[in-house]
């Protein structure tokens, strides 16, 4: 078990959003072990232990994936589809964390088996509160299946 345990995989391309999310997570002391993917491809590599993460075991997946939808290279929906389509990864909870309030996004992600869909509030307090709640819920309250 020399490889790093990752509690949260945060997939976010926007640096401001990334920093604010990290700030919110730290402020609320949710998790220390956070892996950040800046686009869909990186996220897929990490999840499926390929490319830069080829050495990782796929069984050592993150506890939860916070996924933005609008991503360079591979978009969030595709990442979600691949995660949920793969026998090995589909039990990983995926929380879509996005600016989009579009109905079609909500419907299509739910169709793909998303575990939660959160619209990022613009207001900082609300945003911070949302991140805190997500962390608390998925890290502490929710009981994941044993890998």
């Amino acid at each position: 078990m020399n490889e790093r345990m990752v509690e949260i995989l945060l997939v976010e391309d926007n640096p401001s959003d990334l920093e604010l999310t990290m700030l919110a997570l730290q402020e609320n002391r949710i998790a220390n072990r956070i892996e950040v993917a800046r686009d869909g491809a990186e996220a897929v590599d990490f999840i499926f232990c390929q490319g830069a993460h080829a050495g990782r075991s796929i069984r050592n997946g993150p506890r939860v994936i916070l996924l933005d939808l609008k991503l360079p290279k591979i978009d969030g929906i595709e990442v979600l589809r691949r995660v949920k389509a793969d026998e090995r990864t589909r039990r990983i909870p995926v929380v879509v964390l996005t600016s989009s309030r579009e109905e079609r996004d909500i419907v299509s992600t739910y169709d793909l088996g998303v575990n939660s869909y959160i619209v990022k509030p613009v207001d900082w307090e609300q945003f911070s509160e949302s991140i805190k709640n997500i962390g608390l819920y998925w890290m502490l309250i929710n009981e994941p299946p044993t890998p």
């Binding site: 600016s99 579009e102 945003f127």
Partner: protein, 726 residues
């Protein structure tokens, strides 16, 4: 059908005329009977005359015979009297001679006178008969001689006495004279008696002959009379039967039969008149017929009447007769005048239905939007409607009777008859436009593209073709125009689809990308305020807060704008919406916005409506939020939600508040996107709420309007009536 009926009707009219003629003209058998009766009666009369004459003559002869007999009797009587007078004279002369008694002398004188009288009678009686007259002359001379002896006797008595007288008597000279006298009288008597017998025999013969003539004559007359009685009775029966037949025909005919006088009155009408017009026979015959004629037809009817009364029979004259109920029926007449009787025999028929059918046909035919032609088997144009004439540039009357080739382009005119012949061999309906690229030739020689439909029909016993023709030059132009319009539309539609896609991509991207910078601005402003609160100047803090307020507003604007743009794209899902329940639920959900305020919300019972529940929910949320927002500076704030029925089953809902209201002169801006009537610092807002409300209501086919006064409140009313998107 119509032609057959007309034929039957004409036959019926002819029959009626025949009956009418029967009333005036003797028929063949009638001539015979009448002459026979005349001859018979003349013969009978002749027989009776002969019988009468014979009887008269017989009777006259009998009377003559009787008169002759009487003469004979008188002669016989006179002879008797004469003989007696002679005897008396002889006897009384002798008696005087014996007695000298004067009395005897007187008797003797009387006897002489009687003899003289009888002789004079006899002279008269036998004057005609020479034989008797000669006998009488002899008798007279004998009597005179005898009377001379008597006178001698008397004279002897007077002068010489009885003896002398007796001597004279005794001389016996008187005896042969007396015998002569007796003989002559006997002869005369015998003659008269014989004559008497002759007369009686003749009388018997005459009476026998007369009797037999009378009997035979009377019998013959009786037989003749009996025969003619039978013949006449039979004839009368036949005539009665004929009359009954005529009456039956007259009364039971479905046509209206009548006899009318030249005086302008009906004399007799059959029950069909009453059936058709409703007037009783008495009503029809008691007024001039012109009284019943439609005012517009009076002139024509008078003209027709004059034609008939001048002795011309009239066929198929038509006019309108008034019914008892005031309506008019079209009547068609066939009239036959009888000038010598001053009567018109007419058959009339109610042709109202036919007339209407004709009119309908005429209207249909003339008003048909297509050109219509009726062409017979030899290609003659029997009928052409206005549209057809217009289409080809002719007058209608120019076309009638022409061959249909008149309308065919020159280049196929020669072969067209063979086309028609081919069609006629197996006539079959052909639909409009079944043969493409047909052309017609107009009067001016130009050609027009046509669609032609052919429909074989039977008419008046022949086969013809009903041709419907549509001028498709306009259609062709229209089709071309339509095609280009369609292309244009398709292009526009494609452009619209592209625009829509772009818009969708745009709003999607807005949704994602516009929020992130705002979040960054707000987030980092906040981080700045928190982490560096000690080092930031108070002014800087205030500015940072202003930045944050504006990011919040910007965020709200983006949300509302996205929601608004979604409205147009979102599908409508209409069903019955329980408005009452929905409104109460929304008020409950909005409670945090007015918690603790002095606000009274009155909700009437609201009727349900047809619409998309989610969209209508947004309407109510926006209207109620507005009402709550704009009443927040009001003490005793009230919001009244109610409805009224607008009379056609649709409700008009309203939300009335006594809040800030607005100036009605800006009401046109009320429902515009980003239009606001209040300052942001007084009442925050994005200016999209009412635009959203209006958009939703418009999508339902409804209407929203507002009524307000500055500082006194506003009432928003809307209705969902009318046509809506489905």
């Amino acid at each position: 059908m119509e032609f057959l009926a007309t034929r039957a009707w004409l036959r019926s009219a002819a029959l009626f005329r025949l009956y009418a003629e029967h009333q005036t003209l003797p028929r063949g058998p009638v001539v015979h009977i009448d002459r026979a009766i005349a001859v018979g009666f003349s013969a009978t009369l002749l027989i009776l005359l002969v019988v009468g004459a014979v009887a008269f003559r017989g009777t006259s002869r009998l009377v003559d015979t009787a008169t002759a007999g009487e003469q004979n009797q008188k002669v016989l009587g006179a002879l008797e009297s004469e003989l007696m007078a002679v005897f008396d004279a002889v006897a009384y002369s002798r008696a005087y001679a014996l007695t000298g008694n004067a009395e005897y002398r007187q008797d003797y004188e009387a006897a002489l006178q009687g003899s003289a009288q009888s002789l004079s009678e006899l002279r008269v009686l036998v004057a005609e008969e020479s034989e008797q007259a000669s006998h009488l002359a002899q008798l007279e001379s004998s009597i005179a001689a005898r009377f001379a002896i008597c006178a001698e006797v008397v004279h002897a008595r007077e002068s010489d006495g009885a003896a002398k007288a007796a001597a004279v008597i005794g001389s016996g000279q008187g005896k042969p004279l007396m015998e002569d006298i007796r003989r002559i009288v006997a002869e005369m008597r015998q003659h008269e008696t014989a004559r008497l017998g002759e007369g009686r025999f003749a009388a018997i013969a005459i009476s026998r002959y007369t009797k037999s003539i009378i009997v035979i004559g009377c019998a013959a007359a009786a037989v003749l009379i009996l025969v003619f009685l039978i013949v006449i009775r039979r004839e009368i029966r036949q005539r009665e039967r004929a009359m009954a037949d005529r009456d039956l025909h007259f009364n039971s005919s479905l046509d209206m039969l009548c006899v009318a006088g030249f005086d302008g009155y009906f004399k007799q009408v059959n029950p069909s008149w009453t059936k058709t017009l409703g007037w009783s026979a008495e009503e029809l015959t008691s007024r001039p017929w012109l009284d019943f004629v439609h005012p517009d037809d009076v002139e024509a009817t008078v003209g027709a009447g004059n034609t008939v009364t001048s002795g011309t029979s009239l066929v198929t004259f038509e006019n309108r007769y008034r019914c008892k109920d005031g309506s008019y029926r079209w009547i068609s007449w066939t009239s036959q005048p009888m000038v010598e009787k001053q009567l018109i025999y007419a058959v009339a028929r109610d042709v109202t239905e036919r007339k209407r059918a004709d009119e309908r046909f005429q209207t249909l035919f003339e008003c048909a939007p297509n050109g219509l032609l009726l062409v017979d088997a030899s290609r003659r144009i029997l009928l052409a409607n206005v549209e057809l004439a217009r289409m080809f540039g002719y007058e209608q009357k120019e076309l009638l009777g022409q061959t249909v080739e008149l309308l065919v382009p020159d280049r196929i005119r020669a072969v067209h008859p063979s086309y028609v012949a081919g069609f006629m061999k197996a006539p079959k309906q052909r639909a409009m436009g079944a043969v493409p690229n047909l052309f017609g030739r107009k009067k001016d020689g130009s050609e027009i593209p046509l669609h032609v439909a052919l429909n074989p029909i039977e008419y008046e016993g022949g086969v013809g073709v009903l041709v419907a023709i549509a001028d498709v030059s306009e259609r062709k132009k229209t089709e071309d125009r339509l095609r280009s319009l369609n292309n244009e539309l398709e292009n526009k539609s494609a452009a619209l689809v592209a625009t829509n896609k772009e818009l969708e991509a745009f709003s999607y991207s807005v949704s994602h990308d516009l929020r992130a910078p705002l979040r960054a601005i707000d987030g980092f402003s906040r981080v700045l305020l928190e982490k560096f609160s000690d080092t930031i100047a108070p002014d800087a803090k205030r500015y940072l807060n202003i930045v944050r307020e504006n990011t919040a507003l910007m965020s709200a604007l983006i949300d509302d704008l996205l929601a608004f743009s979604r409205l147009s794209r979102q599908a409508m899902n209409k069903r019955t919406v329980p408005v009452d329940m929905q409104v109460r639920d929304i008020i409950e959900r909005l409670r945090p916005e007015y918690q603790g305020r002095d606000l009274k919300i009155q909700v009437d019972k609201l009727p349900p409506c047809e619409g998309d529940p989610d969209l209508l929910r947004q309407v109510w949320i926006n209207l109620l939020s507005n009402a709550i927002k704009y009443t927040r500076n009001r003490d005793n704030a009230t919001i009244h939600i109610g409805s009224s029925s607008n009379g056609n089953g649709h409700a008009t809902y309203f939300v009335k508040d006594n809040g800030a209201g607005f100036d009605m002169q800006y009401s046109d801006k009320l429902f515009g996107v980003f239009q606001r009537l209040h300052r942001q610092e007084d009442y925050e807002g994005t200016g999209i709420g009412l635009a959203t409300v209006q958009r939703i209501i418009q999508r339902h086919g409804g209407r929203i309007w507002a009524d307000a006064k500055m500082d006194e409140g506003a009432t928003f009313s809307f209705t969902l009536e009318g046509h809506s998107e489905s």
